[in-house]
């Protein structure tokens, strides 16, 4: 029996050692990559935000790269910008997608989702890494699994899990009042007594400070929504949005929220499809050219 337990312990230690060795190697390699991470050459304009912002087609925008990613909170956007502005000094303008839903506490559910966290795990400060691992809301198995999958993928592939890219929705379905109401209920009604995302509000201010530190102009992009979606958005979230962004001058507020009225462009009421993406990307191009 003692021999069996000894061998079992020996194998367990061997397994843990291999596990730790691989984990440390992945983390170390990712940190090395991060130190000098480069975007496309001579990028001047950087678009960042969540799935609504992903629709800007950077292939038709000059010297521009869209690094928005689905479910990305402003906390993760800040961490990305912090790394990228350091190593990509050609960036002059940052276009940050911020809409009324950005300051709703429903966003926190995504911040603490193990699939989302694992995309950004390598850009997290060590203290935040530990906090996430110890967080009760995190599926630790999913996080560890994704740590290996995305960690290795970041090393061997040019695509990085935390960078993001343009994504054109090809859906041509039309929204209904019911489907829009469902989206509204999801985005603005939470069981949480806290109605606003303090994390996103805090990191919005930090992004403003960060851009100022690197002498980069920050533009706030409010992406188009269906008129019914806009109408159903609770006023307190619109007021909160105006309050949080009040320090940004009007010139730096790009208000696209009401420019696409036709429902054929907005299949779910708040995400633009490929037809709308084309229009809106040209609108942004005009805006950039007029700068």
């Amino acid at each position: 029996m003692n021999y069996f337990l000894k061998k079992l312990l020996e194998f367990t230690l061997f397994f843990i050692s291999i596990f730790l060795l691989i984990s440390i190697s992945i983390n170390f390699s990712n940190n090395l990559i991060l130190k000098n991470i480069k975007l496309k050459k001579n990028i001047k304009h950087l678009i960042i935000g969540d799935s609504r912002t992903q629709i800007f087609d950077d292939s038709i925008l000059d010297d521009c790269q869209n690094i928005a990613q689905g479910s990305e909170s402003l906390y993760f956007s800040y961490l990305k910008l912090d790394k990228l502005l350091k190593s990509n000094q050609s960036i002059k303008n940052v276009y940050l997608g911020v809409s009324y839903h950005s300051f709703s506490s429903y966003f926190d559910e995504y911040t603490f989702n193990s699939n989302v966290v694992s995309n950004y795990f390598f850009i997290l400060p060590y203290k935040d890494k530990i906090d996430f691992i110890l967080n009760d809301d995190i599926n630790i198995k999913g996080l560890i699994k994704n740590f290996f999958i995305k960690g290795v993928s970041n090393i061997v592939s040019k695509k990085k899990s935390y960078i993001g890219h343009s994504y054109i929705h090809s859906s041509d379905r039309k929204p209904t009042e019911k489907s829009i109401q469902l989206r509204i209920s999801k985005q603005f009604t939470t069981e949480n007594s806290l109605n606003y995302s303090n994390l996103n509000i805090l990191y919005f201010d930090k992004i403003v400070e960060l851009c100022s530190k690197y002498d980069v102009e920050l533009f706030i992009l409010n992406t188009p929504t269906h008129s019914l979606h806009h109408k159903k958005t609770p006023k307190k979230y619109i007021n909160k949005y105006l309050d949080v962004t009040s320090n940004i001058d009007n010139h730096h507020m790009i208000r696209f929220e009401n420019i696409l009225k036709d429902e054929m462009f907005l299949p779910d009421g708040d995400h633009i499809n490929k037809f709308g993406a084309n229009i809106i990307s040209f609108k942004l191009k005009t805006f950039i050219n007029n700068e």
Binding site: M1, F4, I144, K145, F148
Partner: protein, 488 residues
């Protein structure tokens, strides 16, 4: 790992339960055989009660009935009274099984049959929960009474040992269905801890987890997707779905058996091999000697041989073959799909039996060689294809579903490209299946795939291989699914 209320082998609950029982077994109760057996009974009842404590009443009742009848059979000399005792046991055990598993099936079919002749019968089906593993422990206890009746086995006088035999937790809910003649005597003898046995058990558990979590659960995702949407799929995709199910059911059930046998070895018990690389069989006769061996041999010994076996004329052979396969199909579940599955296997098997070719392939394929000959490969693929076809009926929701599934396969759409999205999504699973077949082929002479793999190499190679398996289980583990055979 699965977080669930059921203590299934790939659950956190079992991962905690097993080491606790192991430590108590070898460090606390190891000095005394009775207390070791008592611990097994308590652990088994906790394990079984984890599903639903009410099920425990059934298993306890079954244990008391068979123990008492076995005891009476020992002293009773009158042949008629002995027969009455035997049939009492059969009646009680099959009565429970029949009620819980088949009551609604018979009632539905009874009503349908009468309505066919214009008579409407009003009867309500019951909302019956099928006790987990009832088909397995019922057959195990029946084997005890029958063997005692036939005087092949001395009846147990130790109630605790007998209870442990009936409820032994590693094989309680999905087998292997152990014969009393093999397992019961092991409860009478003091178990000594043997390093080689325990290490072998751990290896077999690891391989069982790989089969279940990596092969079966991944295949289940695509098999379910294809079978649940079969009306929208072309013939070639349906073939793919049937192949996924073929590997799902093998990975699922043989994986469970491996974990059960491995766990038993940790406690010093030897259970019989339940699967012996059945998909490398060269004919259906060989397949049935290698698939669910404990059930096949049970039916052979307690049904097929008593009704005449392969003796007698052609009609007798046909009748007996159909009897064993139809009952085997029905044992799996109260659905016509299982009965058709059994009938199909009987049809496959009969030509071999009638031409005396049913025992041609007794040795493992390509013995002493690395690769099979072309003839062997052809026969393996042919047998595999027949098996895949039969599994369609096993998996289908009902006969209409099965027939429409098969009809679409035998249409021109069989020559279309399989659904590209499913094909693309399942590429990793297909790769894992190929890896699995490769390992099973290498280890086909052994009791399980990895038993001797790297066994004679330096320890470091073995450890690296086991670590790799654990990583694959963790990394590529599919979405958790209940073990298929729990429903039987």
């Amino acid at each position: 790992m699965v977080y669930s209320l059921n203590m299934i082998f790939n659950s956190i609950d079992f991962a905690i339960f097993l080491p606790i029982v192991f430590i108590l077994y070898w460090f606390v109760t190891d000095k005394n055989l009775s207390s070791q057996n008592f611990l097994i009974v308590v652990a088994s009842y906790i394990f079984y009660g984890w599903w639903d404590w009410r099920f425990l009443l059934l298993i306890i009742f079954s244990t008391i009935v068979d123990f008492t009848i076995g005891h009476k059979l020992k002293t009773e000399q009158n042949q008629i009274k002995r027969k009455i005792l035997l049939w009492s046991s059969i009646f009680v055990n099959l009565g429970f099984l029949g009620f819980f598993k088949y009551y609604n099936f018979f009632l539905d079919n009874f009503i349908t049959a009468f309505s066919f002749f214009g008579t409407e019968i009003k009867a309500n089906t019951l909302n019956i929960i099928l006790p987990v593993g009832i088909s397995f422990y019922t057959f195990q206890t029946l084997s005890y009474t029958i063997d005692v009746y036939k005087k092949k086995l001395v009846p147990s006088t130790d109630y605790v040992a007998f209870s442990a035999f009936v409820s032994f937790f590693p094989q309680l809910v999905a087998g292997p269905i152990e014969r009393a003649t093999n397992l019961l005597p092991q409860f009478y003898k003091r178990r000594e801890f043997a390093y080689s046995k325990a290490a072998d058990g751990m290896r077999q558990i690891l391989w069982g987890l790989f089969k279940k979590i990596v092969i079966a659960d991944n295949c289940a995702t695509y098999a379910n997707e294809i079978f649940n949407n079969s009306a929208d799929m072309n013939g070639s995709t349906l073939v793919l779905g049937a192949i996924f199910f073929t590997f799902q059911i093998y990975g699922d059930f043989s994986g469970y058996s491996d974990i059960a046998i491995g766990t038993s070895r940790l406690f010093g018990f030897n259970l019989k091999q339940n699967f012996a690389t059945p998909y490398f069989s060269r004919d259906i006769g060989e397949f049935w000697r290698r698939w669910h061996i404990s059930l096949s041999t049970w039916f052979r010994d307690y049904l097929y041989i008593p009704i005449g076996g392969s003796r007698g004329g052609t009609w007798m052979k046909v009748r007996n073959t159909f009897a064993i396969f139809l009952v085997s199909g029905f044992w799996h579940g109260a659905n016509w799909t299982f009965i058709i599955w059994g009938a199909l296997n009987a049809i496959y098997f009969l030509p071999l039996l009638l031409t005396n070719n049913n025992r041609n392939n007794l040795e493992i394929v390509a013995k002493g060689k690395s690769l099979p000959s072309f003839k062997e490969l052809f026969l393996i693929l042919l047998t595999f294809s027949l098996t895949v076809f039969a599994w369609i009926f096993f998996r289908a929701d009902n006969l209409v579903h099965a027939i429409s599934y098969v009809s679409e396969i035998f249409s021109y759409s069989l020559f279309d490209v399989p659904n590209k999205l499913i094909l693309k999504k399942s590429l990793t699973t297909i790769f894992l299946i190929v890896l699995f077949i490769f390992i099973e082929w290498i280890g086909r002479r052994n009791l399980y795939g990895i038993q001797k793999l790297f066994f004679y190499n330096k320890r470091i190679y073995r450890y690296v291989f086991y670590c790799l398996l654990i990583f694959i289980i963790f990394w590529f583990g599919g979405k958790e699914q209940q073990f298929i055979y729990f429903q039987f």
